[in-house]
């Protein structure tokens, strides 16, 4: 049987709909048990490989024989909206292979060291306090996403980059349009052009008149001839969009999840630093908000656990399933914040693993206990059936979270 014939027969389409808003689709679990390396049909009719086991996902993500370059034939895109975006957007280093990827990433890693991010702790704590103060001073019922989950990471990433927070409504709107997998061409193009234009101007202004922030420091590299101004803008674009909705949705969906597990929420509220750290890792594992798979294309023929993946064939690495692999985790569907391991692949794996993870971690480690301590009676005011979960977005979570406190 040729690979073409196999692909014609692909019965599975990806992504699948969820049965339970807190778990990946059950079909992924079935595939993991029965067909861990299989073909799946995606939006454009193509049939890339779909890998669901923890060991396979990690091994391919760490394998340089698989490319992250979406301009290569065979690369499986998430949705039509993402294809439009790729065709028009200046690529950031997450869509490059080494050595280009390494050259650009290495200019940023000093900005995101564990120690450097730790210096942001007072700012993050102060921001959390101010947002909770504002909640407390307002009506006793509110939308936690707008009041807390979204503004916290937004304020922090704006501070880090040197993007004026006053413009947040503008770039949140563009970011949302870009992450909406159902966005049509007109909407994607408009959002891209608006955001790219905005960041081009900002990068140029900071290159000429630097301040103490990340974009200005990259501007200095432009002046030193190490970087193009368009590369600065592309990096700022990536960090701004990535910094917004990932952490925001971990706060929103994570809080909702904790409220459904009062015993676990109590541990987070009253727990020591180690308990809170462990809770954050466990929530990252079970929720895996970047829920539509990492994508690669094979550069040469590669055998993965006995299956031959040929050069030019696309691969989807389902981190959301890998993080629930029973071969890796006992009772993988249970939320157990005492599990105490950070071996999940919620931030990916390999050379493209999330650069901002120290920042995401510290924000979550501060946000969850602070929220639960300030409002011990925090509760969701609607049943799950009335909550709009973000199935159609590249980052999973909740659109709104109506709470009372």
């Amino acid at each position: 049987m040729t690979t073409t014939e196999v692909s014609e027969q692909a019965q599975t389409s990806y992504p699948m709909a969820r049965e339970c808003p807190y778990s990946p689709p059950a079909e992924l679990g079935r595939l993991q048990a029965d067909e861990p390396i299989t073909r799946a049909r995606i939006w454009d009719g193509s049939t890339p490989w779909l890998l669901t086991r923890y060991a396979d996902v990690r091994s391919v993500l760490a394998d340089p024989r698989f490319s992250s370059d979406p301009y290569r034939d065979g690369y499986p895109t998430v949705a039509a909206s993402r294809k439009i975006r790729q065709d028009r957007q200046r690529p950031s280093f997450i869509f490059m292979d080494d050595p280009d990827h390494a050259r650009l990433r290495k200019m940023l890693i000093g900005e995101f060291t564990v120690r450097r991010i730790e210096t942001l702790r007072p700012l993050i704590e102060q921001t959390v306090t101010e947002l909770l103060d504002a909640m407390e001073a307002g009506p006793r019922e509110t939308d936690l996403v707008q009041a807390f989950a979204l503004p916290l990471p937004s304020l922090v990433i704006c501070h880090l980059l040197g993007v004026p927070y006053a413009d947040h409504a503008f770039f949140q709107e563009q970011s949302h349009a870009l992450l909406d997998l159902t966005s049509g061409e007109e909407k994607v193009v408009a959002a891209l052009d608006a955001l790219q234009g905005y960041l081009d101007e900002l990068a140029e202004a900071k290159r000429k008149n630097p301040t103490d922030d990340l974009i200005s420091r990259l501007g200095a590299r432009v002046n030193a001839g190490e970087l193009e101004i368009s590369e600065v803008s592309a990096m700022a674009f990536l960090l701004l969009v990535a910094g917004h909705e990932t952490t925001a949705n971990m706060i929103g969906l994570g809080t909702l999840t904790l409220l459904h597990h009062p015993d676990q929420a109590a541990l987070v509220r009253d727990g020591d630093t180690a308990t809170v750290r462990s809770a954050v890792e466990e929530l990252l594992r079970v929720l895996t908000v970047t829920h539509v798979g990492r994508r690669r294309v094979a550069l040469e023929d590669v055998e993965v656990d006995g299956t031959l993946i040929r050069a030019g064939e696309g691969v989807i690495l389902a981190a959301e399933a890998a993080n629930r692999d029973p071969e890796k985790y006992s009772h993988p569907d249970d939320l157990d914040i005492t599990r105490g391991t950070n071996q999940h692949v919620a931030f990916g794996f390999g050379i493209h693993q999330c650069l901002g993870q120290p920042l995401a971690r510290i924000e979550l480690q501060i946000a969850y206990p602070a929220l639960l301590q300030r409002f011990p009676d925090l509760r969701v005011t609607v049943p799950d059936s009335e909550i709009r979960f973000r199935e159609e977005m590249a980052v999973y979570g909740v659109h709104e979270l109506p709470v009372a406190f």
Partner: protein
């Protein structure tokens, strides 16, 4: 236990620092630094974890 790293291949994810802070650090540019090349038994499990979670697989542990 002996710990070595391939600093040239480090991508600065900082997972090692989070996992075994007594043994690993990052320099100002974000690259890994080994604070203790011969960690004791008390750090052994954390060091093995750090090698496992290193996304660029640049940590080698000899037992």
């Amino acid at each position: 236990m002996k710990v070595t790293v391939d600093k040239d291949m480090c991508i600065g994810a900082g997972q090692c620092v989070v996992t075994a802070p007594d043994v690993f650090d990052q320099d100002d540019d974000g690259f890994v630094e080994v604070l203790n090349e011969n960690p004791g038994e008390g750090d052994a499990e954390a060091v093995r974890d750090a090698a496992h979670v290193c996304p660029a697989r640049v940590i080698t542990v000899e037992e």
